[in-house]
């Protein structure tokens, strides 16, 4: 097999731009697909060709399997990279592409299906030797069984929807009465959100770290891990800061959890890039959480410390090429941290913000990578995920990466829409983050210290004066003639 001559990118925003960039360096032509709202977007501009998709909703356009296959046929694209989100973990999509003779740049449909169900994936992980949390053997039949399991494994427990994700259908319970209520709520929420009300019960880990292992597998039996990422800084069950390596993982632990992730990938016949997510407790225990069968948002931190272009490897693997390196060739070099910039008001419950991005300036320099998909003057609408950009810094040590990243955030200029940029800089500056004391409740635990600080009197005066001098409102009156203006200099 040989590399495809043309690849369609079935995504939008920064990840579409990032995939197109790798296609260009590989000499592969790119095709973007877009909804009308993204017609002037950066992905459309950077792609060699672009095809408009129509759907019932803007998001629906990017989920239009028939439309994407038609776009491949119209442009002659031989393969599709799905990015993340949208159709990236849709086994039917992968199968329909195959049926149309188009290569899906991702894992086999069977692996997507096996890992897409939390109960089935936990069973497979346990069989492959990955530690799993004690809990129910699959979904519980009813509320009484949920309580019986909880009584057996001990409280607190976590009730989770089998089809869940993003925190939906997830509840904790500290005792039997709470467990009864949590079961009803998790079950009904899961049914409403996913059309599948199955719920399972497992031990709840207090102050857990989110640690995940990046794996790469080719079609010739080589399965590698590219070390771990820690993604404990989350809000609304969504990651906002990720780093690699984890401050809590030493070389021996890296080998141990890497080996279990590789074993699971092998067990499900995995190919392409995938991520085995785990939670770790304060005593250094690791347990399987789920496997994501796609490229992750936070893949750039792994690329920074390993020097491996994960998207390029996905494309080569999908074309049938063997990996050109082995586990011993994968070396961790330095430390990388990523911040996700969202259009949201971090100081008001992280509610999404909209508006026009009137001014956009990103920093550039050694050790700093910016992945973004925005153009100055564009509208940020509520129709899509509110992530604007990812700012990634890579330094010889964690402290140096932190300093680089803080400087980069301070010189990231995004005006016209409220963003979480200043909030992220405050998290990086927090002593507990600096010393690596991170867990998934970090932002809640430190909410008070992370609140915005009002500018001091002198800074505020500068801001007020700049506003006055910039606003056309003051020019709507006649400018004072010179002699009169001189009077303004009189001081009491």
């Amino acid at each position: 097999m040989s590399l495809p001559a043309k690849v369609l990118v079935a995504n939008r925003g920064e990840i579409a731009v990032r995939i197109i960039r790798t296609l260009r360096t590989m000499g592969i032509a790119s095709v973007a697909v877009f909804h009308a709202l993204d017609a002037d977007g950066r992905a459309v501009r950077e792609a060699d060709e672009a095809v408009e998709l129509t759907g019932d909703t803007p998001v629906g356009s990017y989920l239009d399997i028939a439309g994407i296959i038609a776009a491949c046929q119209a442009t002659g694209a031989e393969a599709v990279h799905p990015g993340f989100g949208f159709l990236s973990e849709n086994a039917d999509f992968a199968e329909q592409l195959a049926a149309a003779g188009i290569t899906f740049i991702g894992p086999p449909p069977a692996a997507i299906r096996a890992m897409g169900d939390k109960i089935e994936s936990k069973r497979l992980a346990a069989a492959a030797g990955v530690p799993t949390l004690p809990g129910s053997d699959g979904a519980v039949a009813d509320v009484d069984e949920a309580v019986a399991v909880a009584d057996r494994i001990g409280y607190p427990v976590l009730l989770k929807a089998s089809a869940g994700g993003g925190g939906k259908g997830m509840r904790t319970a500290a005792d039997a009465a709470a467990c009864r209520e949590a079961f009803e709520r998790a079950s009904s929420e899961a049914l409403a959100s996913f059309g599948d009300g199955r719920v399972f019960v497992e031990r709840y880990v207090e102050r857990p770290r989110h640690i995940e292992v990046q794996v790469l597998a080719d079609a010739h039996g080589t399965v590698l891990h590219l070390a771990e990422r820690e993604c404990s800084i989350q809000r609304r069950y969504q990651k906002v800061i990720e780093e690699s390596p984890s401050p809590a993982v030493d070389a021996a632990t890296r080998e141990r959890i890497g080996a279990t992730a590789v074993a699971l990938a092998r067990a499900v016949g995995y190919t392409s890039a995938g991520t085995v997510e785990m939670i770790a407790d304060e005593q250094g225990g690791f347990w399987f959480l789920e496997m994501n069968t796609r490229l992750q948002v936070e893949h750039p931190v792994t690329e920074a410390i390993t020097g491996i272009d994960i998207v390029a490897e996905q494309i080569r693997i999908a074309a049938g090429e063997p990996l050109a390196f082995g586990q011993d060739d994968v070396q961790v070099s330095g430390h990388a941290i990523e911040c996700r910039i969202y259009a949201e008001d971090a100081d008001a419950g992280f509610v999404p913000a909209t508006g026009r991005l009137g001014l956009v300036r990103f920093p550039a320099g050694p050790g700093v990578r910016i992945d973004h998909g925005v153009i100055e003057g564009q509208d940020v609408s509520s129709s899509f995920d509110p992530m604007i950009a990812k700012v990634i810094a890579h330094g010889p040590t964690r402290d140096e990466a932190l300093e680089l990243l803080r400087d980069a955030l301070h010189s990231t200029v995004l005006l016209g829409v409220v963003t979480n940029t200043a909030f992220l800089a405050r998290v990086l500056a927090h002593p507990a983050f600096r010393s690596g004391e991170t867990h998934t409740g970090f932002l809640d635990d430190h909410a008070a210290e992370l609140a915005p600080v009002a500018p001091d009197v002198e800074l505020e005066r500068c801001l007020v004066a700049a506003t006055a001098l910039a606003s056309p409102r003051f020019d709507q009156r006649l400018a004072a003639p010179e002699p009169l203006a001189g009077m303004g200099e009189w001081r009491p």
């Binding site: 909209t354 200029v413 004066a465």
Partner: protein
């Protein structure tokens, strides 16, 4: 003499501000105290000089909202005409507005309905999160501006209550 405007930074207090320009320099009077300064293009942004202080900054003016990037972060400044504000205050509280952009999931009231403080008027969804929009006071629904499935921006009027007192003829 010319009128002044109120300027506030973020959630901070409002300052009464006046500007007198003379050439490319200006006197900015903040709460009665004059400061000499200038704002000049510099690089891809601006340079503010205020008395003996010089700062690099970036600006985006969107009507009476001025966005600034200075001291390593973004700031939102709001300019208010004190005369216009005094006209507008009579309306606030009577209209429930959207706290964030989103889609209408449910409309629980119709025009003419009596509602109590805290009662749910509309349920909205934004980025997969549902929120209830509640009545701030007891009253009678005057108008419902949205229907199920409508999308709206932050600050959009959703439901208006009838004013408590008939406004005086002006």
């Amino acid at each position: 003499m010319s009128r002044s405007f109120d300027i506030s930074i973020g959630e901070g207090d409002a300052f009464s501000v006046d500007v007198a320009r003379h050439g490319d320099r200006a006197t900015v009077t903040i709460e009665g105290r004059p400061y000499h300064g200038s704002l000049r293009p510099a690089g891809d942004g601006y340079e503010l000089t205020l008395e003996d202080r010089t700062e690099r900054l970036w600006l985006f003016v969107a009507g009476d909202t001025v966005w600034l990037h200075a001291f390593g972060q973004a700031w939102q400044a709001q300019l208010v005409d004190p005369v216009e504000r005094s006209r507008a205050t009579a309306v606030s509280g009577d209209t429930a507005t959207a706290p964030m952009p989103g889609t209408v999931i449910a409309v629980n009231v119709e025009a003419g309905a009596a509602v109590g403080a805290g009662q749910t008027l509309v349920v909205i969804e934004s980025m997969k999160m549902q929120s209830e929009i509640i009545a701030e006071r007891d009253g009678v629904v005057d108008r419902v501006f949205v229907a199920i499935g409508d999308t709206f921006d932050r600050g959009a009027a959703l439901v208006a209550l009838e004013p408590l007192d008939e406004p005086e003829e002006g």
